[in-house]
């Protein structure tokens, strides 16, 4: 199926993913953070779908959103929420963390600017074969040993 309103959905999903990511670290209530993380993971899954990688998207949903995050929530819900609400949101290492984040951001910006030259054709080719089958061929053919 040909994608519809690609640009809009791309920006919408990206914004969703990033905003949820921000919510993960700013919410005081760990359950809310976990839910935001799930939202972020689902946004990523949708982005994979837009990249014609439905298998990766499906695995993302099953493994991360459906499996791992459920266990996360499971544990978080059993801890004493009131206690965590009273604790400080950020610890003393926030300066170091901030520095790392800025460095990483700078790297992204650098790659984005430089990358324009490195990847001249920025549109993705529609795969001839079903993407899922290609994944299977690669996994169980060429890289069987590594598996």
């Amino acid at each position: 199926m040909a994608p519809v309103a690609t640009t809009f959905f791309f920006y919408f999903l990206s914004a969703l993913t990033v905003l949820s990511g921000v919510l993960v670290i700013t919410r005081k209530n760990p359950v809310h953070s976990a839910l935001a993380l799930i939202m972020s993971l689902l946004g990523q899954a949708a982005l994979y779908l837009m990249l014609y990688a439905p298998f990766v998207a499906g695995v993302q949903i099953i493994l991360y959103a459906g499996g791992i995050m459920v266990l996360f929530l499971f544990v978080i819900m059993l801890v004493n929420i009131e206690k965590s609400l009273k604790e400080d949101q950020f610890n003393k290492q926030w300066l170091v963390g901030m520095a790392a984040a800025v460095a990483l951001g700078a790297l992204f910006v650098f790659v984005y600017i430089k990358g324009k030259g490195l990847f001249p054709d920025r549109t993705i080719q529609m795969p001839e074969q079903s993407n899922t089958q290609q994944v299977a061929v690669l996994l169980y053919g060429n890289y069987m040993f590594a598996l």
Partner: protein
């Protein structure tokens, strides 16, 4: 514009795959309405069938034979006071039923009611269904936690543990069915829901009978796991009424509760559709091989219409047996009208173009209905498992069985 609309009708693929957004939208609306009607009908049918299993009549007051009971219930739920516990987490409490309902409904976009009757045909169809339905556990956990109360929390813990455990057995059973699709010349299987049914068509066998008894065992594993996955009796521990009052939705009332109800039944229909698609030949009519040929095709294509006509006739018969007192006039008219609707649908299904287009859907729904009947039957027969026993069944019985079946299927696939 007209061309755009009619282009799908001529194509032999789903509207989603054909890129026909209009029809995709029409299907989404149809599925949404159809599901709501199905859930309402299931509500009535479950109460009626269960009642007759238990030597009682079930709802009889609202409408003839209680036909309007589910509608009355729905109205009652809508106008009920919406209670939120004071200590609840409002946002999570609010969003939990939505998560459950949305996931339960989303899976239906890949359910193939016929070779062309699905919203879209994803090449990861089964994976998508399993993935999305596994998200519904999130809603359950959120509901249980947000209620900030002991019983719901225990219900949520039970249900998430249960769903996570049974998903594995379920996945293994699904994989063994998917493995069977790859037994063709090219050796390429498919995860697409439509592709799986077409593979059964090509191999001239429902997968439940393939490599007898391997297919049957895989189907059995799936059938048990799907009951557990939807938290129904005898695996209804999360909402075990006698233990946890109502489990994760104890604190919910009115409309929010009805969303859980809607989601539960949609999820039942969804997993039943997976089972039907994977093992019971999807939209294929029974006996395509033994009773093949044009004559039999015609006979089987007439069955849907005849069944509806028969149901209409039964309804007319009970209409004629209604008491003649004026007090019952509205009820008699209503029952007669219901019979007329059934008969009309029956006649409509006998018209050749409609017949050809719709009989796939009928057979699919009939198989799903059979599965739903089994759900009710279990509920009328079995006591409830205890939690440790439930886990034992999941991990010590179904999981090894699933692995065994998977390996044996692979071996059988290579040998035969």
């Amino acid at each position: 514009m007209l061309d755009y609309i009619t282009s799908y009708l001529k194509s032999d693929t789903t509207p989603g795959s054909a890129g026909n957004l209009f029809w995709a939208f029409v299907y989404i609306v149809l599925i949404f309405l159809g599901l709501s009607v199905a859930v309402i009908a299931m509500n009535w049918l479950e109460r009626k069938i269960l009642a007759h299993m238990q030597v009682r009549l079930g709802p009889m007051r609202v409408g003839p034979h209680g036909l309007l009971q589910p509608i009355a219930d729905a109205l009652k739920l809508l106008i009920k006071e919406d209670i939120m516990p004071a200590e609840a987490d409002p946002f999570v409490f609010w969003i939990a039923p939505l998560v459950v309902v949305i996931t339960a409904f989303t899976v239906f976009i890949v359910v193939p009611f016929g070779p062309t009757h699905a919203v879209t045909d994803m090449n990861i169809g089964v994976l998508f269904m399993l993935g999305v339905s596994s998200l519904s556990v999130l809603g359950v956990v959120m509901a249980g936690w947000a209620s900030n109360s002991h019983y719901p929390l225990m219900g949520a813990l039970r249900s998430s543990a249960q769903m996570v455990s049974y998903e594995i057995a379920m996945g293994l059973a699904v994989v063994s069915a998917v493995l069977m699709t790859s037994l063709n010349k090219e050796g390429t299987g498919t995860l697409s829901m439509i592709g799986i049914v077409q593979a059964q068509q090509a191999q001239h066998v429902w997968f439940v009978f393939k490599f007898f008894p391997l297919g049957l065992i895989a189907f059995f594993i799936f059938a048990v796991a799907m009951v557990a996955e939807t938290n129904r009796a005898p695996f209804d521990l999360p909402e075990a009424e006698s233990e946890l009052t109502a489990g994760f939705h104890t604190e919910y009332s009115g409309f929010r509760w009805s969303l859980f109800f809607l989601a539960e039944y949609s999820a039942m229909i969804a997993v039943s559709s997976i089972a039907v698609t994977l093992w019971l030949g999807g939209w294929m009519r029974p006996f395509p091989n033994a009773l093949g040929g044009e004559t039999w095709d015609l006979v089987f294509s007439l069955i849907p219409g005849l069944i509806f006509l028969f149901l209409g006739a039964i309804t007319f018969y009970s209409t004629s047996r209604m008491p003649k007192h004026p007090y019952f006039r509205v009820q008699t008219l209503g029952l007669g009208g219901f019979g007329a609707v059934l008969a009309l649908i029956g006649l409509l299904l006998l018209i050749p173009p409609v017949r050809d287009r719709v009989q796939d859907i009928f057979w699919f729904c009939a198989k799903v209905a059979f599965s739903m009947y089994m759900y009710i039957w279990y509920r009328g027969t079995f006591p409830r498992y205890r939690f440790d026993q439930l886990m034992k069944v999941g991990w010590k019985v179904l999981l090894p069985m699933g692995i065994g079946v998977l390996i044996l299927t692979a071996i059988a696939g290579v040998l035969f």
